[in-house]
Symmetry: C2
């Protein structure tokens, strides 16, 4: 028997109806949904590896996964076959055969998340699941000054939720940019990896800076203490999107 092929998928999903990416007994997850669709095509059990464990309600505009199969279906036929089986809140944009060492989690060298805040007095029914509504006016320049303090290699223990066992809480943030378009504040952060709830805790901290509860230089000091209680709150999941992931293989 020949060695199984390693196939990568690029997908996007609306996380509203899911209990996150990772398979859970009796709860709808994106991983399970994708595995079910693949199994109906490939006629064998499939285990899909994702590039990250998004939480319940978190979305993905650009998410990479991989799986192994000995089935002979050409990779380029998979998106159409999958999309006709997947529900309308998950879509596969591309599929390609990759090297056998490729692993969607461990081969990743850079990940990007985008957080969207609807900063307006009135909530927007059409974006209720896709941006966090925050009515109080936010000072973008203060947020940008604070975001710059996160950039670089630091211990991010102060802006994560505990729960998962990890070796190190040191990560490198490459960029943390903030834009405004059409009433939406868009915060784009790229790093070599993120701790659990780290983006949402950093955004909560930037909001505290924006409204004057913290000052931009406090960010660096809070990181140094490693104390979660000093940083801002963990903001809601429905404003968060996985928006990029890069591999060097």
């Amino acid at each position: 028997m020949s060695e199984p092929r390693n196939i990568a998928l690029l997908l996007s999903y609306d996380g509203t109806a899911y209990h996150g990416w990772q398979r859970q007994r009796d709860l709808p997850t994106v991983q399970q949904t994708l595995e079910d669709a693949l199994q109906s095509i490939l006629k064998h059990r499939v285990s899909v590896t994702g590039c990250g464990r998004t939480d319940a309600g978190v979305h993905a505009e650009y998410y990479v996964a991989n799986f192994r199969t000995s089935a002979r279906i050409p990779a380029e036929r998979l998106p159409f076959a999958l999309n006709s089986r997947l529900p309308s809140d998950v879509a596969v944009a591309r599929a390609w055969e990759t090297v056998k060492e490729f692993h969607a989690t461990f081969s990743c060298v850079r990940k990007e998340y985008t957080y969207r805040i609807l900063n307006s007095e009135i909530r927007d029914p059409l974006r209720r699941n896709h941006a966090w509504w925050y009515p109080q006016s936010l000072d973008l320049e203060r947020m940008r000054a604070a975001a710059r303090q996160f950039v670089g290699t630091h211990d991010f223990a102060a802006v994560r939720s505990t729960g998962t066992d990890i070796k190190s809480t040191v990560r490198t943030i490459f960029a943390f940019d903030i834009y405004e378009k059409g009433g939406i504040i868009e915060m784009v952060v790229a790093a070599n990896g993120f701790l659990y709830n780290m983006v949402r805790a950093m955004v909560g901290t930037l909001v505290y800076v924006a409204i004057g509860k913290l000052e931009p230089p406090d960010v660096r000091k809070i990181l140094e203490t490693r104390r979660r209680s000093l940083a801002g709150p963990t903001v809601p999941p429905h404003g968060l999107y996985m928006s990029g992931v890069h591999y060097d293989i």
Copy 2:
């Protein structure tokens, strides 16, 4: 007893979960939802008049309604009071006391609808309820040339669905503009009024022109025949938004 006050509301809603604007026995509608919220504030039965009967799945970015009350609550306090009672898919942006003759339907002199098409090879899970996905490439210049044929005063019987009894099928279209931004084709049409399903039938006709099933000059000829079967199909409701309404009082 003094004459009741006439209060106007500006609202927006996501139509996905509703069977349209108009109250229907045992089905969720936007009108009923708004009336329930108003009744819990005003402590009397309220009948709300809307600026149009949007269908199931159709959205509103800008929708005006009015109602009468003898309650003394200041109009400017209503948005907050209503929004705390309304579900997250309906929001009231503004409320104001208006003249007693004002009627959200009959006082209207200009209405605007926007139709959004996601014109991309792959569907987008994040916009599945908010734009119609049409994968085949659409020729915008052909669509614009055809849209211009609809502008003016014409008999629009060929692009409506029957069902409602109306005196005349003549309407005046003031403008019909087509833009593209970020993979979304946005078609904005303004008129002194619209027949039932008229926007969706006009958009279906423009799509037929875009893909070569009709030629731009056919539009005028089809209107002259008054025959619905010669025009394009009625496109799905979830790409349609009420986006503007104007009054001269």
